[in-house]
């Protein structure tokens, strides 16, 4: 015989050098963002940039985006593009209001999840079983979600609230605050010391007025990570999004996993709808309440490179932009423009070090334009301010989408055989 291959001691090659681990990137990113905001607020004098009030609003506004993003993550990791998140979220808002005014906040949450999941089920039936183009089905669900809730709210809410576009008020969750800690942080925040006061303000915002829904949502991020990356079910789900033919050939039930993923996706989007309805500012269903947050959630997921940690960062960014404009209006958003100029400065230096002349030049041009804008305007027109989160979405996606890696079979209709 030529060779006898016995089970000889086998030395695998050393694994490739790992780049900086994911959590470290996150920590660095958060630290960088705080330093940037701190310097900006110090330079411009707008303390609202890092105040506890702004943070609290930002958290509240980031929740629906985060939930929609998580929904997108589940679906797209299984290879189904879910542009219908917006529609599922609208269904969630209606469900939350309908159950919420009758049986309280927990019922609202459950109804929202069920309504969203129904939207997800519809998307799954269309895309997985019938092979409808994912975008077409998603757009249809968005239209359906808007139309159906309009019909249902005229039918059910109007007799009660005398307004076809609004539900009767729902009962909110009780909120919790870490009182002692918040007071101590409040003192620090008043201290007006660079960075320390800013960190204190942000932390205080995070521990004040926390509702059970907020805690649940935050928990869903590590939970999604654990389920998708550390369990057998998650491995199968992701394999379906990477190479369904390979998964099928190994006995993985491709359709089943896609169905589960898309239904969970809808449920999460629906929960996002509940987060909007149970939001302290509104406490009812309002037509047009979602305002494109399903799409922004999708953008947050893309920004986060189809990973839960990155998606949390994206949702925080968009929530912050939204919270800032809502709370403090045009002047502070203008201060944010100053922050962007600072950030661009850092990018320019980095690109120069890496000898990327073109990128550096482009960043310089943008920075100069924004700086001129900053010094020539007193405040950003209010018509424009409302669109701040959308503008941030657009800008971030344009810059960040270059090196992202989506699941290989994302959006591809799979047929057995």
């Amino acid at each position: 015989m030529i060779t006898t291959l016995e089970e000889k001691p086998h030395v695998p090659a050393a694994p490739r050098k790992r780049k900086v681990p994911g959590w470290a990137v996150g920590v660095l990113g958060v630290a960088g963002a705080i330093v940037l905001l701190s310097v900006t607020s110090y330079q411009t004098g707008f303390l609202q940039l890092t105040s506890s009030g702004t943070t609290q609003t930002a958290v509240r506004l980031a929740l629906p985006i985060l939930l929609a993003g998580l929904g997108g993550l589940w679906s797209e990791r299984a290879g189904v593009v879910n542009i219908g998140l917006e529609g599922m979220m609208i269904m969630g808002t209606w469900g939350a209001a309908w159950a919420g005014y009758q049986w309280g906040p927990w019922a609202a949450v459950i109804a929202a999840v069920v309504f969203g999941a129904l939207g997800g089920l519809l998307h799954a039936i269309a895309t997985v079983s019938f092979g409808v183009n994912h975008i077409v089905s998603g757009v249809a669900i968005n239209l359906l979600g808007a139309g159906l809730t309009k019909y249902l709210s005229t039918l059910i809410f109007q007799p009660l609230s005398h307004n076809p576009r609004q539900s009767p008020p729902v009962q909110p969750f009780e909120t919790y605050s870490a009182a002692g800690l918040a007071d101590w942080l409040g003192e620090l925040e008043q201290g007006q010391r660079l960075i320390i006061s800013d960190v204190a303000g942000i932390l205080r915002g995070l521990v004040t007025g926390v509702s059970p829904l907020t805690m649940l949502t935050i928990l869903l991020v590590p939970l999604s990570y654990y389920l998708l990356w550390r369990t057998r079910f998650g491995l199968r789900l992701r394999s379906v999004g990477e190479n369904p033919h390979a998964a099928d050939s190994l006995g993985v039930k491709v359709y089943f996993h896609k169905y589960v993923a898309v239904i969970v996706s809808g449920a999460l989007a629906g929960l996002g709808g509940a987060a909007l309805v149970l939001n302290a500012g509104q406490l009812s269903y309002l037509e047009g309440q979602t305002g494109g947050r399903g799409f922004i959630g999708l953008a947050a997921m893309i920004f986060g490179n189809w990973r839960p940690g990155g998606l949390l960062g994206g949702a925080a960014l968009f929530g912050y932009a939204d919270g800032l404009q809502l709370r403090s209006g045009g002047e502070t958003v203008l201060a944010l423009v100053y922050g962007v100029v600072l950030l661009l400065g850092v990018i320019v230096v980095w690109q120069l070090i890496r000898r990327r002349w073109f990128s550096a030049a482009a960043a310089i041009v943008v920075a100069v334009v924004l700086y001129l804008l900053y010094i020539s305007l007193d405040e950003i027109p209010s018509e424009f301010v409302a669109y701040a989160p959308h503008m941030v979405t657009l800008a971030v996606l344009a810059v960040a989408s270059q090196r992202l890696r989506m699941p290989a079979a994302d959006g591809v209709v799979y047929r057995r055989g």
């Binding site: 015989m1 030529i2 060779t3 006898t4 291959l5 089970e7 000889k8 086998h10 030395v11 695998p12 090659a13 050393a14 694994p15 490739r16 550390r230 369990t231 057998r232 491995l235 199968r236 992701r238 394999s239 990477e242 190479n243 033919h245 390979a246 998964a247 099928d248 050939s249 190994l250 006995g251 993985v252 890696r405 699941p407 290989a408 055989g417």
Partner: protein, 526 residues
């Protein structure tokens, strides 16, 4: 060397297929197939492309259900509804097109679908490392599959099968993607595993390989088994005649038609990776003359694709010049280059050659949308396109019900004949052919070879990239070997053997006088 010692004839056979028939709408893929595989042997299944080998294996692996016939494994009759049924019965399959998820790690790919065995954590990792030895895989299980080369990916596929405890392993055209040295390593692995008691079903149409590795051979033709043979006594010619019912075509060209008229002149061509970290093409100089076929040999991923796409203008070169008959093409776009007289047979006809959902005559217009006979001034000329498509269909023997059917309705060979016919229309001075006969049947292969030879005799310059070394050696007047983005050696097709070319391609250094290294010594790499 004989491996028949390990074949146990007294046990029930590992696999018996009896009277398997499978019909698809309009086609009978398998009819009355009989196959017996004894335990512990390497059994080869030979047949042309489209003879029904793959369908048969899909039936055995539970991916498709047979309309008639029975399957027995170890003497017991079984029915496979899904691949997991086949896996449970101890049958594993290594697909020709790898079934791997690039963005998952080796470990994730291996344990997928078999998590119940050892979980997905440390225990699974240990088991994978244990099994890696018999497949010759030497990488950490935590590495992403996209970082592996072709041979290692194949080992991961074998590892997947072993991990599930398969005893019968189907290898579907395992050598199609490998260079000769890798083929030898694969065969060593197969023989070693055979000693450990594994049974192999080896699917191939490469007769030399079949005779080298198999203990017995079954030949399949037009969907049915036409006979068995002993690979020790049968000749390649006899096998070939069983396979096709007539003699195999040969790519051999007779006399040289090379002139001294330079058609394509590439000088100092450079191309960097998109992130600018390393060169894909490094200072490539290349001359193709009228009536000459220049062959580019190389392991896939060494820059052949990029070279072709850069010459076509689909990628922008970092530096260097490309001249076609004294006309500088360097700054021109792809359409302008085609108009200057380049015909292009792309390596992936589905991605770059055809619109599969569009009719044949519509596909005729692609790339010729500014020229007669498919265009008239700024307007397209559908009538002209249809007439010319009819011409191609008859001249190039494209088997199709008509020119209005979508390209997807044609078999791979007929699609390729259409592409070659189109690219040889409009009197090109240069034809760039990337893997022109990949995945086509023997008949289409012969026709495409004949057409290339005829055009060459008429003065066409041809740049041929191919992974089929016999094709490369048979058709080319000059062979250049590409390694890590450079043309590192020249080979004389009259004297070089596939093995010599193979070692030059892997950078093992030339072992033959027929291969002359041309490149400067590579810095610290050899």
């Amino acid at each position: 060397m004989s491996s028949s010692t390990s074949v146990r004839t007294d046990d029930p056979p590992a696999v018996v297929l009896t009277g398997i028939t499978k019909r698809f709408p309009g086609v009978v893929a398998n009819s009355d197939v009989h196959l017996t595989v004894r335990r512990g042997e390497v059994h080869a299944l030979c047949g042309e492309n489209g003879a029904g080998k793959s369908t048969l294996m899909k039936i055995l692996y539970g991916m498709q259900a047979a309309d008639e016939g029975t399957i027995e494994v170890n003497g017991e009759q079984v029915r496979f509804r899904t691949p997991s049924d086949a896996i449970k019965a101890g049958i594993g399959m290594v697909h020709q097109h790898f079934m791997l998820a690039d963005n998952l790690t080796v470990q994730e790919n291996v344990v997928l679908g078999a998590e119940a065995l050892h979980g997905i954590g440390q225990k699974a990792r240990k088991r994978i490392i244990e099994l890696s030895g018999s497949t010759g895989l030497n990488v950490d299980p935590g590495v992403l599959v996209e970082q592996l080369g072709v041979a290692d990916r194949q080992r991961v596929e074998i590892l997947k099968v072993l991990y599930r405890g398969a005893k019968v392993i189907i290898l579907d055209e395992p050598t199609a993607v490998l260079v000769p040295q890798e083929v030898n390593e694969l065969f060593d692995t197969v023989r070693g595993m055979q000693q450990q008691g594994y049974t192999f079903l080896f699917i191939s149409h490469k007769l030399d390989e079949v005779r080298a590795i198999a203990d017995s051979v079954t030949v399949i033709r037009r969907g049915t088994t036409v006979g068995s043979a002993d690979p020790k006594t049968v000749s390649s010619r006899q096998l070939a005649e069983m396979m096709v019912g007539s003699e195999l075509p040969s790519p051999e060209t007779r006399e040289s038609t090379v002139t001294d008229k330079v058609v394509l002149d590439v000088k100092g061509l450079k191309l960097m990776t998109p992130d600018g970290s390393r060169p894909i093409l490094d200072d490539v100089d290349l001359v193709v003359r009228s009536g000459e076929v220049v062959g580019i040999a190389g392991v896939e991923g060494n820059g052949q694709t990029e070279l072709v796409e850069t010459i076509m203008g689909m990628r922008k070169a970092g530096s260097g010049t490309i001249t076609l008959q004294d006309k500088d093409l360097t700054k021109l776009g792809t359409l302008a280059r085609r108009e200057a007289g380049i015909g292009y047979v792309p390596e992936d006809r589905h991605r770059h050659g055809l619109l599969l959902t569009q009719p044949l005559w519509y596909n005729r217009i692609l790339g010729y949308q500014t020229r007669k006979p498919t265009a008239n001034g700024i307007w397209l000329d559908p009538d002209g396109a249809k007439r010319d498509t009819e011409r191609i269909v008859s001249e190039f023997d494209v088997r199709t019900p008509g020119i209005d059917v979508p390209a997807a309705a044609l078999s791979g060979g007929n699609q390729q004949k259409l592409v070659v016919g189109r690219e040889l229309s409009g009197n090109p001075v240069l034809l760039i052919a990337s893997h022109p006969t990949r995945g086509v049947d023997v008949g289409a292969q012969a026709l495409i070879w004949d057409e290339i030879k005829r055009a060459r005799a008429a003065g066409l310059a041809v740049l041929l990239v191919s992974a089929d070394l016999d094709e490369l050696i048979g058709l080319s007047d000059t062979i250049k070997v590409m390694l890590r983005g450079r043309l590192v050696a020249d080979a004389d097709p009259n004297t070089v053997t596939p093995e010599d070319l193979g070692s030059a391609m892997t950078g093992a250094g030339s072992t033959s006088a027929a291969v002359q290294e041309t490149a400067v010594v590579e810095e610290g790499e050899n």
